[in-house]
């Protein structure tokens, strides 16, 4: 059973990692937690469903379109709900994010109803068994795609000029502006990338569990945030590490302690990490200058 649970945990872990990347990028640049990010994940999932059902698009096209549209939505949210508040008290954009989250969920409920929708694809449902482990094709896809996306992001951020500009912006907004970087554009880009990753995660989750519904972003969002914090918020490899770690701990904890209290386990991890080592595993200690 241990190996099987390991496989389960790994699958969930990489999904958390993908969503966590969005949190960590936005936090890295703007130093705010985008509470609405989990719901962006949900919107991505619904959009994928929508494109496949209404327009009969093939799976890969739905992926790309959903990612693109969700990126646009992410940028819109930044533009209208966060940008005007950049100079306000810390608490103000947080509350605005809460408002956006409520808005997104209720919009989804209005547009698509509150029931669970199945994902109309039989893709990836074949299973393979090796000894005591059984896994399905979709799990392999999730693993591969997530690793690819994370690798892509890592390369982008470290090897390209724009990526480096983004990193500069996250180190210091004002200094980056002084260096001639269009910080607004960098911020929009961070939101765009984070949102499209979340949308991919959303579609993969939709296919894997064959269930899409408006409140799916809530727990996923909290877990992904925990993962980001665990790995070190603001740190991209940290988010990936944190995601996988959290997935494993949660699944193994659920298996050997109690499935019912699985969310209590993840919340407790979050609280403990924040208390003992708020900078996370890979994060660097922040020095608060007066």
């Amino acid at each position: 059973m241990f190996l099987q649970q390991l496989t389960n945990g790994l699958t969930i872990g990489v999904i958390y990692a993908l969503i966590a990347l969005g949190y960590t990028m936005v936090y890295g640049i703007l130093k705010i937690v985008n509470f609405a990010h989990g719901d962006i994940f949900m919107i991505g999932s619904f959009l994928g469903l929508f494109f496949m059902q209404e327009f009969q698009l093939p799976l890969y096209l739905a992926f790309i379109l959903s990612a693109a549209v969700t990126a646009g939505i992410g940028m819109l949210i930044e533009r209208f709900a966060y940008r005007p508040l950049r100079l306000a008290d810390r608490i103000v954009p947080l509350i605005s994010a809460l408002g956006v989250s409520t808005l997104l969920v209720s919009l989804a409920q209005k547009l698509w109803g509150t029931e669970m929708h199945p994902f109309p694809t039989a893709f990836g449902s074949r299973t393979y068994t090796f000894g005591s482990i059984t896994f399905s094709e979709i799990q392999i896809l999730i693993l591969l795609l997530s690793i690819l996306l994370m690798l892509g992001l890592h390369l982008f951020v470290t090897r390209t000029k724009t990526g480096t500009a983004m990193r500069a912006t996250s180190m210091s907004l004002t200094n980056a502006a002084l260096m001639g970087i269009n910080t607004n554009r960098m911020i929009s880009l961070a939101f765009a990338i984070g949102s499209s990753l979340a949308a991919c995660a959303g579609m993969m989750v939709g296919i894997y569990y064959n269930a899409v519904y408006p409140t799916m972003g809530y727990m996923a969002g909290i877990n992904a945030f925990t993962a980001a914090v665990l790995g070190g918020i603001g740190n991209i490899p940290g988010a990936m590490l944190g995601g996988v770690l959290l997935g494993l701990v949660e699944t193994l904890g659920g298996a050997y302690i109690s499935t019912q209290y699985k969310s209590v386990i993840s919340f407790s991890i979050l609280i403990i990490v924040l208390l003992i080592r708020p900078s996370g595993i890979l994060g660097s200690k922040e020095i608060n200058k007066v």
């Binding site: 669970m116 409140t215 727990m219 699944t251």
Partner: protein, 375 residues
């Protein structure tokens, strides 16, 4: 000062508007319509059940209205949204009881909502017929509280007897951490012991969970012959699918909460062979059920599930009470207290002295993506 004035203005406006809609509902019972209340989760996470309730109730009213109503008066179903939340349910109950033109209430959906509102309905002496609240505690909720669904105790017990007949010696339970699931768990475990087979695992899930791989992997270790899903059709479909992905080959059994087209849609091949007990089955001997099924499809273009059927029946018994004894709250209650052998879409029902219903379920299974009688 300005701020105070503007606040006062807002409060005043609010109070005015509120009184407006409040007062309009308080006319005396001397109206041309017969008003029956429906308390259901029209919005919120359980809105799908609310819609089923609404459709069932409105169909019952429409049928009578088309035949001329009751003594010439049309029946009006007054819907209030309790959002599946006990707080909101209390608000809704308060609204209904203060509206003197409401003769009886069909509702609520959740057992916790029904339990929270029962004191209010009972205190104000207005009948409450729940289509779906199956928690055992509802039995003692009051003399004005009735329900057309059997208790979890009854269903779990029946299912345990059937499990024995099917020859299972090891059964695992996956139950919802809610009044519904826990109720089923307790009774099933007891009956299993009496029947002499073993419940090898009992894992809880929270409503809305969608990842059961951990739970199923744990259960796989215990090698049960069947899994009893103590929850609703959404999660049941997910469980079935994920079990298949894990190569977990077991029988699945459940109670009437699983009966829905959505189970077939979401689960597809993985729910093939499910065994469940149901009180609503349109393909069998129950002519009322078949008739209801046809008329529901004609009106709404979709197939009814258990909850639409229960809501239809709950509304129908209130209507029948009004037809037999007059449009008056007490009369409805005294009629329901003595109702016996009423042919309904969910079977032949009689109320016992606690307002609980006594009826026999059918044994169903899923074959070729359709519900069928189990032979």
């Amino acid at each position: 000062m300005k701020r105070f004035l503007s606040a006062l203005a807002i409060a005043g406006l609010a109070a005015g508007l509120l009184s407006g809609c409040g007062a309009s509902g308080d006319s005396q019972a001397n109206r041309d319509t017969i008003r029956i209340g429906l308390a259901a989760p029209i919005s919120g996470t359980q809105a799908q059940y609310g819609t089923a309730f609404k459709n069932g109730a409105e169909l019952a009213a429409a049928q009578i209205n088309e035949a001329g109503g009751i003594e010439g008066k049309q029946i009006e179903i007054v819907i209030q949204d309790d959002k599946g939340d006990s707080n909101e349910a209390v608000n809704v109950a308060n609204k209904f009881v203060t509206d003197k033109s409401i003769l009886g209430v069909v509702g609520h959906f959740n057992s916790s909502a029904t339990l929270a509102t029962a004191p209010i309905y009972n205190k104000n002496k207005i009948v409450q017929v729940s289509p779906s609240s199956s928690a055992p505690a509802v039995t003692n909720a009051g003399e004005y509280t009735f329900r057309v669904i059997t208790t979890d105790a009854f269903q779990a017990d029946y299912l345990a007897d059937w499990s024995k007949e099917l020859g299972y010696s090891k059964v695992a339970l996956i139950y919802e951490q809610s009044d519904f699931g826990i109720g089923l768990l307790d009774v099933y475990q007891q009956s299993a012991a009496e029947n002499g087979f073993e419940v090898v695992a009992a894992e809880a899930f929270n409503p809305g969970d969608k990842d059961f791989s951990t739970v199923l992997t744990k259960i796989k270790e215990k090698q049960p012959e069947a899994i009893f899903i103590g929850g609703f059709y959404n999660e049941a479909a997910l469980i079935a699918q994920q079990a298949k992905k894990l190569n977990l080959d077991v029988d699945f059994i459940g109670v009437d909460s699983l009966y829905s087209e959505a189970l077939l849609d979401l689960g597809k091949e993985s729910v093939e062979g499910f065994k469940l007990i149901g009180f609503f089955y349109p393909g069998g001997d129950n002519a009322e059920a078949t008739r209801f099924n046809e008329e529901y499809q004609a009106k709404y273009n979709s197939k009814p599930d258990t909850y639409a059927a229960y809501s239809y029946v709950a509304t129908s018994v209130i209507i029948k009470a009004i037809q037999e004894q007059g449009a008056e709250r007490e009369a409805i209650k005294s009629y329901l207290e003595t109702l016996k052998d009423y042919n309904s879409a969910t079977g032949v029902i009689s109320f016992d002295e606690n307002g609980d219903v006594i009826t026999e379920p059918s044994r169903l299974t899923i074959k070729d993506s359709k519900f069928e009688l189990y032979q």
